[in-house]
């Protein structure tokens, strides 16, 4: 549930996951020639892709392109859902504003299509042997759009700003544990000890704890010290509010205009380190999911992403002018099970709950062939996904009954199982009135002697019950998963956000080890171990992986949406 928060797209994603446009998802387009091939992982990915049944349809007839699309020779229009107008990284409160800042502000380090770090404004980085010290080497030709160079000072300023006591944004910099950061925040030090500017292009950052996620936090979007820091005083950040609507960064595009509720316009940045983007104008047009298909059909959009279903995919295909990719999304859906309740304490009961629910049917009803039953707590698009040796818990009422009998839950009054005076009753919280789980689980569970009562509630109410651990079952979905640790770390015994109330010493150890090394190969092995342990002692009920359909107008070349940056990383390469 921790998925990706603290990074751009995370914030609102947690809440609204129905057909979010631009909450971009799977791709693994085979034609991405610019990606270096990484032998062993590449193979793994292919296996995943096959399982998730990725489909793609090529545009067959470009002559039927809508006139509006044909008329656009130097403008690319993409759909976005609901930005708010705070166009400053680390300060916006709305995930969509994060998408708006992506073309303007480039980070030092970003993720590639497999979720592995790649250098952007940093040419490279080194880590010390003890994995505590990071040295970023900035590109010599990296410039902000006003022509000034991106220097180590700017990076130091950005990181210092996040430690300011008045900072209220989403980035919790304390997670990176930069040496001396706490002292600075508390006003005990004038500067942060662990941030050392070596020269214009090199910065050294010392942390106090090895953390696999620190690289992305440290190597985030860079703010210009000259522009954003000229009025900076410790403890006072209000001056930045003036600059929310006037962004300036080192990204491929320069912000030109925001029409509230309508669109955001950009022009190509001639100072971009990798050369001016091929398409002069970029527009993010604000659309609603109810009519995004019509917008695409009439040529108002060059790119949009839709929740996949037969109707949408069929219609997109029948347009003939669109390249359509149907691929898994980088998140998953699950049902939290309150492990602190006496009914759910035993792992046999939780196993029985998994066997006893026809999850395949739930997924089929909800996604109509465009989803699959989730088996490990990470999306199939992640480098960490590995379901080898993982129990699948296919629907098996008989097995569920056996497990419940074995655990001592005997059929009692009204056919409901009970043990030590506690009845096996489940109150299921969901924020979705049309939740497919309700009818299916109700029927499945009553067959094996479990009473299942749904309760449809407002999302905030659900969350407050979660954090108070006053629930039996609660339906949630992760936001975009940037690191495999995001979704599992709150299951460790002493994590304050352990809403499941799960505790397993082996899991605790594996979670810690998974975060405690920067070596991806090593982490992969650790997470695989962890996933196997999770199927033995399931913390909750995994439900689905879903798919999305992305449509790109046929005249656009070079756009390769991926699961981590969306269309962000291919923006400089788009041509018409």
């Amino acid at each position: 549930m921790n998925g990706g928060l603290g990074m751009k797209k995370g914030i609102s994603g947690l809440i609204l996951l129905i057909g979010l446009l631009l909450l971009l998802s799977a791709c693994a387009l085979s034609s991405s020639g610019d990606e270096e091939t990484k032998d062993s992982e590449q193979k793994k990915d292919d296996v995943t892709v096959e399982k998730a049944e990725e489909k793609s349809y090529k545009a067959t007839d470009l002559s039927v392109l809508p006139d509006k699309t044909k008329a656009r020779k130097d403008t690319f229009v993409a759909g976005i859902s609901a930005p708010g107008g705070v166009f400053l990284p680390y300060f916006y409160e709305n995930g969509w504003d994060g998408n708006v800042t992506t073309p303007i502000f480039s980070p030092l380090v970003d993720l590639d299509k497999d979720g592995k770090p790649v250098p952007i404004l940093a040419e490279s980085w080194d880590t010390s042997k003890d994995q505590l010290t990071y040295t970023f080497h900035l590109r010599k030709n990296a410039k902000f759009s006003d022509g000034s160079p991106v220097t180590a000072d700017d990076v130091a300023f950005t990181l210092t700003l996040l430690h300011d006591p008045a900072y209220t944004g989403y980035q919790d910099i304390s997670l990176a544990e930069i040496k001396g950061g706490k002292e600075y925040k508390e006003g005990k030090a004038k500067s942060i000890e662990g941030i050392k500017v070596l020269d214009d292009q090199r910065i050294e950052i010392t942390t106090e704890k090895v953390n696999a996620k620190a690289l992305l936090i440290l190597g985030g979007q860079v703010l210009s010290k000259a522009y954003y820091g000229k009025d900076y005083e410790y403890g006072k950040l209000d001056y930045l509010k003036e600059l929310y609507s006037k962004p300036l960064g080192a990204g491929p595009y320069v912000f030109s205009k925001y029409v509230p509720g309508q669109e955001i316009r950009y022009t190509a940045n001639g100072k971009y380190y990798n050369g001016k983007p091929k398409t002069e104008n970029l527009i993010y047009k604000i659309i609603d999911k109810a009519t995004s298909l019509q917008q695409f059909e009439t040529g108002e959009l060059d790119y949009a992403s839709f929740p996949a279903d037969d109707d949408t995919v069929g219609q997109l295909e029948s347009l003939k002018f669109a390249n359509v990719q149907v691929a898994p999304v980088n998140d998953y859906g699950l049902i939290y099970v309150n492990n602190t309740r006496p009914q759910f304490k035993d792992k046999e009961v939780r196993q029985a709950l998994l066997y006893g629910m026809d999850r395949q049917k739930i997924v089929d009803v909800r996604f109509k062939g465009f989803g699959q039953v989730a088996d490990v707590p990470v999306s199939p698009v992640s480098w960490a996904y590995d379901n080898e040796g993982v129990t699948q818990y296919e629907f098996d009422a008989k097995k569920a009954k056996e497990l419940l009998d074995k655990a001592g839950w005997k059929i009692g009054e009204n056919g409901i199982r009970e043990k030590d005076g506690v009845q096996l009753k489940i109150r299921y919280l969901t924020a979705d009135a049309e939740d497919a789980v309700i009818p299916i689980a109700k029927e499945n569970y009553s067959d094996i002697g479990i009473q299942f009562e749904p309760e449809i509630t407002d999302f905030n109410a659900l969350v407050s019950k979660l954090s108070a651990k006053e629930y039996d079952f609660a339906a949630v979905s992760t936001s975009q998963i940037l690191d495999p640790s995001d979704t599992v770390e709150d299951l460790s015994t002493d994590n304050p956000n352990n809403y499941v109330g799960y505790s397993n010493p082996k899991v605790d150890k594996l979670i810690q080890e998974g975060l405690g090394t920067l070596d991806i190969e090593k982490r992969k092995g650790l997470y695989h171990e962890l996933y196997k342990e999770f199927t033995q002692d399931p913390p909750y009920i995994l439900i689905h992986y879903r798919q999305s359909a992305r449509a790109i107008s046929g005249q656009i070349e070079g756009l390769v949406p991926d699961n981590y940056t969306g269309i962000g990383s291919s923006l400089p390469n788009i041509s018409i």
Binding site: G84, D172, P260, I287, Q294, T298, D458, S464
Partner: protein
């Protein structure tokens, strides 16, 4: 009359206070606040943020802080949008207003005409047809009829835009801009009008029917007055009296934004802001906007009473 107005005015102030109090506490008691909905925050960070936003203070204290600010003309700062509530609402509310105003004008004009017409030709074919159509129009769910119109006029015929307020990337100004916005307004205004015309037509029809049966109308006819004078000068004036109250209730509606319509047509109105502020527990926006609407409702009521008293001597005499 002066005393009556004054009395109503004082009542109005008291009601406003009461409303603000109730609204504040209702919202504050909703489970979860702005920070709580973000499950990924560590408890320490959540605590820090709550302190920075003042959400850790007791409810009563928060209310008085808020009230004090309101008296100084400060409606607060949106947590979600990170800008002052006044400038935020100002950005969107007028977009809602122009659509609502035009729809209101059309609704009332058409409803008045059809209502009166079907009343004086009661049980005729015309009355039947009008009744059928207004009922049909008001029975359609708004999202359905919106999508249907978008399909017909936007996608199939391609004569009207699918949504939005301006063309993508448009830089038009002046008259061209007005034309462009006008073109985008056609569908939303039509649909809003269609949806609200039905009930109003029925009001006018009933009001008219009651009046034309009365003696003084017969007298007017007996005097040999022309039918149009009887209807529009003598009958209509009395028939629309009860509708003044209805008109007063339309006042908040002009600013509240039509949530579903705005969403489907991507109209940058205030409806979405309002909806978001509820789901994200953005208290300052929620409070300011709800209070603004209740102010308008109360003022609308006040105006209705005063106008009523002005046009209907029977009320004043009490």
């Amino acid at each position: 009359m002066k005393q009556y107005v004054l009395q109503r005015f004082i009542q109005m102030i008291i009601i406003l206070f009461g409303t603000s109090f109730i609204i504040f506490f209702l919202f504050a008691m909703l489970p979860g606040d702005y920070i709580d909905s973000n499950l990924s925050l560590t408890p320490e960070r959540a605590q820090e943020l709550k302190a920075l936003y003042g959400l850790d203070q007791p409810m009563l204290q928060r209310y008085f802080t808020w009230l004090g600010n309101v008296f100084q003309g400060n409606l607060g700062y949106s947590l979600k949008h990170q800008e002052s509530v006044t400038s935020l609402l100002n950005k969107y509310v007028w977009n809602s207003f122009i659509v609502a105003l035009l729809a209101l004008f059309l609704t009332w004009t058409i409803a008045l005409l059809t209502g009166v017409l079907s009343a004086i030709k009661q049980y005729s074919l015309l009355d039947g047809i009008v009744t059928f159509f207004v009922f049909a129009a008001m029975s359609f769910p708004s999202f359905f009829i919106s999508l249907l119109f978008i399909k017909w006029f936007g996608v199939d015929l391609k004569i009207l835009p699918v949504g939005g307020m301006i063309d993508t990337g448009s830089n038009s100004t002046g008259f061209a801009y007005i034309l462009e916005v006008g073109k985008h307004m056609i569908l939303p205004v039509t649909i809003l009008t269609l949806l609200s015309i039905g009930s109003l037509t029925r009001y006018f029809r009933t009001g008219m029917l009651e009046v034309i049966r009365q003696d003084y109308i017969r007298t007017a006819r007996a005097k040999g007055l022309k039918e149009s004078v009887v209807i529009f000068k003598h009958a209509l004036k009395n028939a629309i009296l009860p509708v003044i109250t209805l008109l007063a209730f339309e006042l908040p509606g002009l600013f509240s934004g039509a949530i579903i319509m705005e969403q489907i047509f991507n109209w940058p109105g205030v409806g979405r802001i309002q909806l978001e502020s509820v789901s994200f527990r953005d208290y300052p926006v929620l409070m300011a906007f709800t209070l603004f609407l209740s102010c308008l409702t109360i003022i609308g009521n006040f105006l209705a009473d005063v106008t009523y008293a002005a046009v209907d001597p029977r009320i004043r005499l009490k």
